[in-house]
């Protein structure tokens, strides 16, 4: 029986799980395939629902993990093989310095999500016009102070690749309504002369303060919400024309825009089925890791001793990823103690 836990993925879910295990006397090996910890959180400028400083928070959490004794952090490291069973796994870890073998009692999978490249959406001119970007690119533009200046018009497009069984995924990505409102507010704050439009099918903002946050976008920041899924984004000279049907008035509408931001789908992390294969655990129809029981065992994978945390199970916001990281930590501790 080994008292160590392997955590796969150094996003906020994995960082939280590692912290909680170590703070309770456990030992952790945290592997991250990239060079740095932080995952997608580290790519954000601000966070809903309070416009908190994302870089500050994620840096603080990474520092805490690094300063906590009992956590060994291995960047640029991936899992190559697993044998054994709950309480007594042998794992093969591959990093630039070579391969090593470790004994661990429990494994937590926190491999996060991948952001869909909406290349299939040619009707939105994505990949054709540099003025059509994804929401993740918008975060980068905001962080680098590259948002449109002057009386620019910016259009935010909901549900690109989500709720679309023809070209994308059947599921709802859950948080794009909220981060699109955040982006519209960020736009208005960075440039009060700008105009922001959000095209939605329906607004899904389920979390403490989320509905109020979206109402503030409308009521305080004068963001214009238009009910209809965008049909086309047409390049027209130096501008873009966004066309949709406003289903509340039953008439087509067009907005001339300087920037169009596509809220693309959160999809399973790259290579999730391969990783599941190595671990011998199940994935769902999309490739997200499958929980053993959705309601009361959200952190249990289909195999004893292997737990799940964060957005590798379904699209979710930071608070939920943190909550799952904490629960996965306590499940691991229960097993190895």
């Amino acid at each position: 029986m080994s008292k160590k836990t392997l955590v796969i993925g150094g996003g906020i879910a994995g960082i939280t799980a590692a912290q909680k295990i170590a703070q309770n006397g456990g030992e952790v090996i945290l592997i991250e395939k990239e060079g740095e910890l932080g995952g997608n959180f580290a790519k954000l400028a601000y966070t809903f629902p309070v416009l908190a400083d994302a870089k500050m928070i994620v840096t603080r959490e990474i520092q805490t993990a690094k300063a906590t004794s009992g956590i060994e952090i291995l960047p640029q490291t991936e899992l190559r093989g697993v044998s054994g069973s709950a309480g007594d796994f042998t794992v093969e870890l591959n990093s630039p310095s070579g391969t090593r073998s470790e004994h661990v009692g429990a494994i937590i999978v926190a491999a996060g999500f991948h952001y869909m490249e909406p290349t299939a959406y040619t009707e939105y001119s994505y990949g054709r016009s540099p003025k059509v970007v994804t929401s993740l690119e918008f975060e980068k533009m905001a962080a680098e102070n590259r948002l449109p200046k002057g009386n620019a018009r910016v259009v935010f497009v909901h549900c690109v690749g989500s709720r679309d069984k023809a070209k994308g995924y059947r599921y709802c990505s859950k948080i794009c309504c909220s981060y699109s409102a955040k982006h519209a507010i960020m736009m208005k704050k960075a440039n009060p002369d700008s105009k922001a439009y959000v095209f939605y099918i329906d607004i899904r903002a389920l979390g403490k303060g989320y509905e109020e946050f979206i109402r503030d976008a409308m009521e305080v920041y004068n963001v214009r919400y238009i009910r209809g899924r965008v049909a086309k984004v047409i390049e027209s000279g130096s501008k873009l024309i966004v066309r949709a049907e406003d289903s509340l008035i039953g008439n087509p509408v067009e907005v001339e825009a300087d920037l169009v931001v596509l809220a693309s789908a959160m999809e399973p992390p790259e290579g999730s089925r391969d990783l599941a294969g190595i671990l011998g655990i199940a994935t769902d129809e999309y490739g997200f890791f499958q929980e053993a029981e959705v309601n009361v065992r959200p952190c249990h994978s289909s195999k004893s001793g292997i737990f799940l945390a964060g957005s590798c199970t379904q699209p979710m916001e930071i608070a939920s990823a943190v909550a799952m990281g904490g629960l996965a930590a306590s499940e691991a501790l229960t097993l190895i103690r």
């Binding site: 099918i201 009910r227 209809g228 049909a231 066309r243 949709a244 049907e245 087509p252």
Partner: protein
């Protein structure tokens, strides 16, 4: 207008069976109507047509102009997140209107439709109105038919074909006018000729 939700969706069931399309799979996102070249001039937008089917509003549906206006271009279906082929539904509604003796007083729209439907029959569905027009021109039906097609409807109808905000000539004669049609249709569709 007062609408009643019937307990038995007989109209819905009939249309689903005849069209092979599952109306209930529609997300009611209205993307189809945003992309339909005629939505602006239809009395009911394509997504509203589907909702009216669910409500069983048979009389309003079968007497509507919208069902006569659909030219089966299939733009809506190509981009529909539910993979839903609206023109199949429109076809069934048109057939039902005919069967049940609903007489359309619109003479110009069916004429234009016939030209487009002929095109669909001969060359398949193109999903792009400009391609259809281009094909028709190359078939020798040429300027006469396209020109005949343009000044037929009320001005609003023309705008539906041309895209919004375009100033339209009232009479179209010859090549220059046809070139203008293309320019506008291409603009409307995002420059994919």
């Amino acid at each position: 207008m007062k609408v009643w939700l019937e307990e038995k969706h007989s109209l819905l069931e009939e249309i689903e069976a005849r069209s092979g399309q599952k109306v209930q799979e529609c997300y009611q996102c209205s993307k189809c109507s945003g992309g339909c070249p005629f939505s602006r001039v239809m009395d009911y937008a394509p997504n509203s047509i589907l909702e009216m089917i669910v409500y069983g509003m048979k009389d309003q549906l079968l007497s509507s102009k919208a069902i006569q206006m659909c030219i089966q271009c299939g733009i809506c279906g190509a981009q529909c997140p539910a993979g839903f082929e609206m023109y199949e539904v429109m076809n069934v509604l048109r057939a039902m209107a005919k069967e049940e003796g609903y007489i359309s007083h619109e003479t110009k729209i069916p004429k234009m439709n016939n030209i487009f439907l002929g095109e669909v029959k001969n060359n398949g569905r193109m999903h792009e109105v400009n391609l259809m027009v281009k094909n028709m021109l190359s078939q020798g039906e040429l300027v006469r038919d396209v020109a005949a097609l343009i000044p037929i409807g009320p001005p609003m109808f023309l705008k539906g074909i041309m895209g919004f905000g375009d100033v339209l000539p009232h009479k179209i004669k010859g090549q220059a006018a046809v070139a203008k049609i293309f320019e506008n249709v291409e603009k409307m569709q995002g420059g994919h000729a």
